[in-house]
């Protein structure tokens, strides 16, 4: 041990002199982009049509700009393609381009009208892994004026999904179908400089802009703890605790766990806690009625275990907790933060609502998706539903492709509200990416992948797909100076000899 090898296989006399390890602190500024209005201000009467309208209205200028640049001076034969403002104004035979929202009709896709008509006589069909079939897809482009059927060889390979806003170039044929030659999307939006937000805040509050900041350490991202309350993966969770608080292994070495300055739990912390059964379901399930707490209907042990896990690590490590598809938050995105009532022990280390913007937050239960600045970098993260839902439309295996495409479409949940449940936004759609993040992560993905993408204006985004901890034991570590991504895995040895 004395030589710093981390080997504690040593008999008495014991080495007793150990350095204290101190964790550094990350600059943390959560943005409350996805927080819904509270209480009575939250309405569900609005029509979803408004969301599509809003999305198209907000993205159209950016898409048009891209298209104009690419096709403005282009010649097809002898003609220059015309820009048509509305999809119904497209004339037959004339080369033109138009901007609209894609709608993909798939036979296997759930249809809300079918649901309503069948609601009364069959049980719901199981949800599908994929909506894709072998046949040709019916694709349309629409705007507020109407719909236009589109076809073209390039469309199938592009990976378009319902809800993304693109520009298409081509001409309408005799059958009234638009033949697509090329497409354009909005591409990555403007990316803030590192520390931009923090500097702006400092300037606003009259503070001096710091010229030099301490070297930032690392961020750990984990998703899919999937605590089920049984002892099945309890040791793995203990292991994670011990690693994070630095009691196991050798935390003092340079790349040890003391260098982690914040932990992000990207959804799926509990295994089977969503959707929360409604009152009707609960009463229908049981023969007899019992009021108040019923241990048969509700098992508190998973949440209690998550709470103790958090309260174990919180004294040494700040945590940002995103809900995921299996967590007891709302099912519609943006999922709102997990309620503090679920964390009777760990919430003592959370910030009170009064200090929501306190940078020293210990425990921050946030929305999914979530946006925020850590050490100056802009983070955008989801619990994974948005990506998984897009994946149902496409035959791509790499979730990073999807994440990349979503940023380029500037919409992190294009399939909402079609196949992904979503709050009916009325005046502003936060799911539209207004500023390009530096790091975009999605939790609960099938495997660990990392890629750096760049945009037309030197934007660089690190895309991270974070696998479930319960299946892979992987902790993703992100160096906050270089944005370099590494991972480590924790594993319990095989039980059988």
């Amino acid at each position: 041990m004395a030589d710093g090898s981390g080997d504690f296989r040593q008999c008495s006399p014991f080495e007793t002199d150990f350095p204290t390890n101190e964790r550094s602190q990350s600059a943390y500024t959560p943005l409350h982009t996805f927080d819904l209005p509270r209480g009575a201000d939250k309405h569900y009467q609005q029509q979803y049509a408004d969301m599509y309208f809003l999305r198209l209205a907000q993205l159209k200028p950016a898409v048009e700009e891209q298209a104009e640049e690419a096709w403005g001076n282009m010649k097809i034969g002898t003609d220059t393609p015309q820009h048509v403002d509305r999809v119904l104004d497209v004339r037959q035979g004339i080369p033109s381009w138009v901007v609209g929202t894609v709608f993909v009709d798939m036979p296997l896709k759930p249809n809300v009208l079918d649901d309503i008509s069948k609601d009364h006589w069959i049980s719901a069909p199981p949800t599908r892994e994929r909506y894709t079939t072998d046949g040709k897809l019916d694709m349309m482009i629409e705007d507020e004026s109407g719909r236009l059927q589109i076809s073209g060889d390039s469309l199938d390979t592009l990976g378009l999904v319902t809800g993304c806003v693109i520009a298409i170039l081509g001409h309408e044929n005799i059958d009234g179908v638009f033949n697509v030659i090329d497409t354009k999307y909005a591409d990555l939006p403007r990316q803030p400089e590192r520390w931009e937000k923090d500097d702006a805040n400092l300037a606003l509050s009259g503070g001096k802009i710091k010229q030099r900041r301490a070297r930032a350490d690392r961020i750990a991202i984990i998703s899919g703890l999937e605590i089920a309350g049984d002892s099945g993966n309890d040791l793995a969770l203990d292991m994670l605790t011990e690693y994070l608080i630095g009691e196991s292994s050798d935390p003092s070495r340079p790349e040890g766990s003391k260098k982690i300055s914040r932990l992000i739990l990207a959804g799926g912390s509990l295994a089977h806690s969503s959707p929360i059964p409604s009152r009707e379901e609960v009463s229908a399930k049981k023969g007899h009625k019992k009021y108040g707490y019923d241990s048969a209907a509700y098992d508190a042990s998973p949440t209690a275990r998550l709470d103790t896990f958090l309260s174990d690590i919180l004294p040494t490590l700040p945590v940002t907790l995103l809900p995921g598809v299996t967590d007891p938050a709302s099912v519609a995105i943006p999922q709102q933060p997990l309620h503090a009532a679920l964390f009777p022990q760990s919430r003592a280390l959370a910030n009170s609502p009064a200090f929501k913007n306190d940078p020293h937050l210990g425990f921050d239960s946030v929305s999914n998706p979530w946006e925020g600045d850590i050490d100056g970098w802009r983070f955008l993260g989801t619990g994974g539903q948005t990506v998984t839902d897009v994946q149902k439309y496409l035959d791509v295996d790499s979730t990073l492709d999807i994440m990349d495409a979503m940023l380029r479409w500037r919409c992190i949940a294009p399939t909402a509200p079609d196949t992904l449940w979503c709050y009916p936004f009325q005046d502003d759609d936060p799911l539209i990416v207004k500023e390009c993040p530096h790091v975009y992560f999605a939790g609960n993905m099938p495997k660990f992948e990392v890629r750096t993408e760049s945009g037309p204006f030197q934007q660089t985004v690190t895309l991270i797909s974070v696998p479930k901890y319960s299946e892979t034991g992987i902790i993703v570590l992100l160096d906050m100076e270089t944005l370099e991504v590494t991972h480590i895995d924790l594993r319990v040895g095989e039980s059988k000899p």
Binding site: R9, L235, Y243, E247, Y291, D489, G493
Partner: protein, 476 residues
């Protein structure tokens, strides 16, 4: 400390046959985790030198894995030599994965594994570089299931969970974070011992006098909080909650005094004592309604009782039994559909409201305790002829008084046949102190008209409690 660990380990592992992890040992002996790791190894080597195989160990190995096996897709190889054929057998279907692996695996991946001593050699062989290794646990024999070790983690949480980890990092060598602190204005103090906490409430019932701060009971084990030691606060933990407490207490008591006014005096007194007995923090605990009664009975019979308390208890038990029978009867009726929907609705409403309050206000704990207890309906509070309509549950949130009351509202709905029907409905609404109480509607007149018009319409503003006292003759 010198040889303490040997005694402890011998006792625990050899005699009791229980596993012990380095963390548990460090908590038991209050030593640095790294010392505990060495102690375990010391004990392990010396015991096995004396008698080979007497102690079995598992190790926490940290190392860099060789790139080939580092992928999670087929990664279970390194720890287990017998799985290695998996690795070498080609996967024709995973070709794309392979390519990615090549890209990703240019650097070896740091890996942490807990292995049993039997597999230690193989594991170490599979590592490219060993970073750290220490004994994770000792147990009397080979582990069938590694997850057994999680019982140690459980034990640590149970027994040492109360320790304030913002303080203990120095002893155990946990990574220290100077910026983390307990929220100063937390309404509820952190409650590190979840399971134990909810029990003393029941056990402490018979004799305890009302004290200003009932909070102190909270962290005691059930033995400590036996009746003969009224509020012997060893370490009154909750300084933050104290300031809220005195305010809450009298109000709640007033409320119960007023709502039980029509009861015989002994009963009223008892319920008062009971309310005061319920520490304000319990709302967070998993409610143990099913086991509560059992536990109470068992425990009380063991505990030394005064004559008075005994009498009281017997009386109460008898009452409870009677009430239970009555209730069963009523609920049979309900099942048969004879009882009106309204009453049921009322119960449900109340339950939801209390749930909500649990979520919203931490200070509302008195109320919550009440709910957790009378929700199963077999409690003595149930049959009280409570004051009818505006049933205020005044609670203190910060400095403002809040509560809920029932108000009568007129609602027009379309019924099955398409007719518009106007109903008087009782609804709960929240109010705060400064709002005036709405005028009481003229209950009798309306009641008469609606009751005639429709069967099952709300019968005025009688509370659920009144329903239990005199079952209406019509039901029979």
């Amino acid at each position: 400390m010198a040889d303490q660990y040997k005694t402890y380990l011998a006792g625990r592992v050899l005699n009791e046959g229980k596993p012990v992890t380095y963390r548990l040992l460090s908590r038991e002996l209050k030593v640095h985790v790294n010392v505990a790791k060495q102690m375990l190894f010391d004990f392990y080597t010396k015991q096995n030198a004396k008698r080979p195989g007497s102690v079995n160990a598992s190790f926490w190995v940290t190392g860099k894995k060789r790139p080939l096996s580092s992928q999670h897709t087929n990664g279970k190889i390194s720890q287990d030599g017998e799985d290695s054929f998996m690795q070498s057998s080609p996967f024709p279907s995973s070709m794309p994965d392979r390519e990615e692996e090549v890209v990703e695996n240019t650097r070896p991946v740091e890996s942490h594994i807990i292995v049993r001593e039997e597999e230690l050699e193989d594991t170490l062989e599979a590592l490219e570089e060993l970073i750290a290794i220490h004994v994770y646990s000792l147990q009397p024999g080979p582990l069938e299931n590694m997850n057994l070790l999680s019982t140690c983690g459980h034990e640590i949480r149970e027994r040492f969970g109360k320790e304030d980890s913002l303080e203990t990092w120095k002893i155990y060598g946990t990574i220290h974070n100077p910026t983390q602190r307990v929220q100063p204005v937390a309404p509820a103090a952190p409650a590190p011992a979840p399971k134990v906490a909810s029990k003393p409430i029941n056990t402490a019932k018979p004799l305890l006098k009302r004290t200003g701060s009932t909070q102190s009971l909270r962290r005691h084990d059930s033995e400590e909080s036996k009746p003969d030691k009224p509020a012997s606060q060893s370490k009154a933990p909750a300084t933050t909650a104290k300031k809220a407490e005195p305010k809450v207490q009298p109000k709640a008591a007033d409320f119960f005094r007023s709502s039980f006014a029509k009861q015989p005096p002994t009963k009223a007194k008892k319920s008062e004592v009971e309310t005061s007995k319920k520490p304000a923090l319990v709302e967070d605990e998993p409610m143990l309604s099913a086991s509560e009664d059992e536990y109470e009975e068992d425990f009380v019979s063991e505990a030394p009782e005064s004559q008075e308390a005994k009498e009281k208890r017997e009386k109460r038990d008898a009452e409870k039994k009677a009430k239970q029978e009555k209730l069963d009867h009523i609920f049979d009726d309900v099942k048969d559909g004879k009882s009106s929907y309204y009453q049921l609705q009322h119960v449900a409403d109340r339950a939801t409201i209390e749930e909500e309050e649990d979520v919203i206000m931490d200070d509302a704990s008195e109320l919550d305790d009440e709910s957790s207890n009378d929700a199963p309906i077999d409690k003595k509070e149930a049959p009280t002829p409570a004051t009818p309509e505006p049933e205020p549950h005044p609670t203190v949130a910060g400095s403002r008084k809040r509560g809920r009351r029932q108000v009568k509202k007129r609602k027009t709905v379309k019924d099955d046949e398409g007719y518009l029907v106007t109903k008087e409905v009782m609804e709960w609404e929240s109010y705060s102190e400064d709002e005036p109480q709405p005028k009481k509607p003229k209950a009798p007149a309306i009641q008469a008209s609606t009751a005639k018009g429709k069967k099952g319409a709300p019968q005025g503003g009688r509370s659920i409690a009144s329903f239990f006292t005199k079952p209406p003759a019509a039901k029979k």
